[in-house]
Every structure is written in C-alpha cells, then in structure tokens.
C-alpha cells in the first residue's frame, strides 16, 4: 500500500499548543494516525485476519488453522501479516514448546477494539458496494458511447 517514503497525513493529532499550523489545517504532520492505520488494515490480508481471529474469539487459532480459514493466502503472507499485527500489539502469540512447535494467535484487547469500527466498515461495504458497482458501470457506459 501507500508504503512510507515521503508519507503524508490528515487528521493529525491535536498536540502542539501553537495554533500556528493547526490553524491552516495542520495536515503536514507526517504521522497522521488515520493514514497510518489505513496503511496497516489496508494491506491485503490484514482485515481478513482480524475478522477470522475475531470470529474465533475467545479461542486462540493456530497458524495452519488460520491459513485454512484464509483461503488463498500463502505461508509467507500469513506469516508477514501476523508479524505485523503482533508488532502493532493487535495480536498475541503463544508458542507451545513442543516439537514440532504449535503457535497460537489471538486478538489482544486492542485488536478486539479495532474490530468494532472494522465491522462497521464491513457492514457498509456489504450494503453499498453494489451501488458502487452500478455507478462504475454507468460511468463506463457514459464514457463508451462511441
């Protein structure tokens, strides 16, 4: 996604006391929380992983089980997605020191709290994507009357 080189924001934090730049919109802050969040959940498998883990609550889910519940994902991407979520404190990781090892994943309270706005976004998507599709077809039809 957006990546990070020369990132740009919006909805920056209201810290800085001086109303100087806050006055003109204060959107220069390179660390806009919303953009950063979207950079994470916007990644291909992240929102799906959160959903699957949320549905499993309060059970933990193992790596292979996650992969089965996320059809199409490769080991590499599942691993990368889970690492990112874990780094961000959204997912906990528990390793059973057996051999072969068993690794269990679960949403943290923080991850669970993210599920709330994410679920609303899903609801909106399921309710309105058909409208977007119709709009696209109308546009295409309007641009291709040749």
């Amino acid at each position: 996604m957006t990546s990070s080189p020369s990132g740009t924001p919006h909805g920056a934090p209201r810290a800085a006391s001086g109303p100087s730049r806050a006055a003109r919109g204060d959107l220069f802050d390179p660390a806009c929380p919303t953009r950063r969040l979207l950079d994470r959940i916007g990644t291909k498998w992240t929102s799906m992983a959160v959903k699957v883990l949320a549905e499993a609550e309060p059970e933990e889910v193992r790596f292979a089980e996650l992969q089965r519940r996320m059809p199409g994902i490769s080991q590499k991407m599942l691993s990368a997605t889970l690492q990112a979520l874990h780094r961000d404190g959204l997912v906990s990781r528990r390793v059973e020191p057996t051999v072969p090892p068993r690794v269990h994943y679960r949403l943290t309270p923080l991850g669970l709290s993210l599920e709330v706005p994410l679920a609303l976004l899903r609801t909106w998507a399921e309710e309105h994507m058909p409208e977007i599709d119709r709009a696209q077809r109308r546009e295409e039809a309007a641009r291709t009357p040749e």
Copy 2:
C-alpha cells in the same frame, strides 16, 4: 494498493444457494466487498479527500481549493483520486463552462454515508495509534537486547 491481479476476498456475499463452498468458508469469491472497499479508501489520499469534502459540506469544493486543503498532494494524484471517487459514485463533479473552467466537487449521498464508518475509524486511530506505537517500541526493544 492490493491491486487486483489474482485478488482474494473475505466476507463474501451470502448469495449462492448451494452450501457447498459456503460451507467451507466461501472465501474464494474474488469480489469480497470489504477488500474492495479497503482497496479504495486505503489508497494514500482517498480517505483524506473524503474527509475534506465532508468537512466542506454542504459546500462544493474546487480542484485548486482541494489541493490547498490536502497539503503535499500533486495535481496528478488529486486528479486520480477524484476520478476514482467519481467513478465509484462517491463524489459528484460539476463543471462551470467558463474559460478557464471551474470544476466543483462534492460528496454524493453515498459518499456522505461512507463518511460515517470512516469517521469512526479515524476516531479509533486517533485514540489508539499511540498504543500501537508503544507496542512497536516494546517489540523493538525486546528484539534488540543484544
């Protein structure tokens, strides 16, 4: 973002009567509404554009004005972002046939409805990104004790 080549979903529609694939999770549908939505609002400037337009409501906003309110965006990306939003039926476009032309943008009712879940996501981001940052620093510290 994710793009589309060999896309994969989650939260697919519940149409198909046959419980065949719905049974094992029905996540093969290449048109998961949530992923598709995130592919759109996840792009760098889209959510910011929606926010700026929402804040301007019920006023329209002109191209140059939008650019001023989205510091850092180039003409190219602003144009591309607005085109995408317009194609999707989230933004309306009105051209004054003057010379030079004046183009006005505004959220459609659909775009405005998207603002709701988006605003909640922003709220979550502003409230919890600091926690994520702390989690990251803890992780880094834990991995660099050498």
